[in-house]
Symmetry: C2
Subunit: 199 residues, 2 copies
């Protein structure tokens, strides 16, 4: 059932939590949910496409967007900037689409402040040891980068209590089902549904 105005869902979690896989499964399972493409100053990696994975823009352009208050949220991460262009999100919500953001914890805090009605979900493996194992298993980062990601993850774990929901990703099927269920449930909230009852 399409609601009149869409709902905003925010997913955060430490690097290596398996967010992308879980989100991709949920996006594939729903036709009422749009993914918000972030803008970033970092360069594209192999296979990444402008407008699909990110909007790849330069620092000057990013600064202008900040100055014009064009971001719903933005944050610096490892010398690069990442941000959510506000207008695209607002247009989708106004059209009745629900929107999912995959952003880190500082960005999520900004969204929570500006749009307190947003539903926030923290996605992570249960244990820090699991997270470290995942980061090592993907053979993507240097030891220094792994240590830096783990340090960062510690502060991210402390932010978990500010989220509405926690999805523990020990099994991506279970985690995708949980994220999907959270979205379905939030669309059944009385405030969303009461207008459809006809007496």
């Amino acid at each position: 059932m399409r609601t009149e105005r869409g709902k905003l869902f925010v997913v955060s979690g430490p690097s290596g939590a398996g967010k992308s896989t879980v989100i991709a499964r949920v996006m594939a399972a729903r036709d009422d949910l749009a993914f918000s493409v972030s803008a970033t100053t970092r360069g594209p990696r192999d296979g990444e496409i402008h407008g699909i994975n990110y909007f790849f823009i330069d620092h000057k352009c990013f600064d202008e967007m900040i100055a014009n208050d064009e971001f719903l949220e933005y944050a610096e991460y490892v010398t690069n900037f990442y941000g959510t262009p506000r207008q695209a999100v607002m247009d989708k919500l106004a059209s009745g689409m629900n929107v999912l953001l995959d952003i880190e914890v500082q960005g999520a805090a900004q969204v929570r402040e500006r749009m307190p009605e947003a539903v926030t979900i923290f996605l992570t493996p249960a244990s820090f040891t699991d997270l470290e194992q995942r980061l090592r298993n993907r053979h993507q980062d240097s030891e220094e980068m792994i240590q830096s990601r783990l340090e960062r993850a510690k502060s991210e774990y402390r932010a978990a209590e500010s989220y509405d929901y926690i999805v523990i990703n020990d099994d991506p099927d279970v985690a995708a089902n949980e994220l999907n269920s959270i979205i379905t449930a939030e669309l059944c909230r009385t405030v969303e549904r009461i207008k459809y009852l006809e007496v």
Copy 2:
């Protein structure tokens, strides 16, 4: 994932809303959810089994249970009494099982007062006209009974706004998926999950 203490889910909705079918599907799909068997003073219908569908007890016994404060909630409906024996619910919750109650709106109000952490769900067809059609189609009630059920449903619809969620039962598969999703989502609430994060 089994939580340490179970959660209480309350489903209400007008007679003819299709609650039993939807609840049966959800019960069949989950092994972490127990159905609370109500006590009633009405006699068993064909096929109903004591201890499965209801605990069939007499008025004297029901009055004693009221006097001993043994009901989590109780209410009178069409000259008979219905109530939820408290101890069975408490024991299941304490063991970590989640519990689902199928009770009417006055009973739900009592539960909400005594256990504000209970999650409440109103289940109904979208329109009153649909409800009337369902009551007629099941060829179970006299015209007088149908009118009485519809009158009652009007006041029940007015109680819908007090519930946390509304599930609109136009299709039992969709409704069962929504009820199931609500239960899954509520078990992902940060307050339930934060204790499992190990940093």
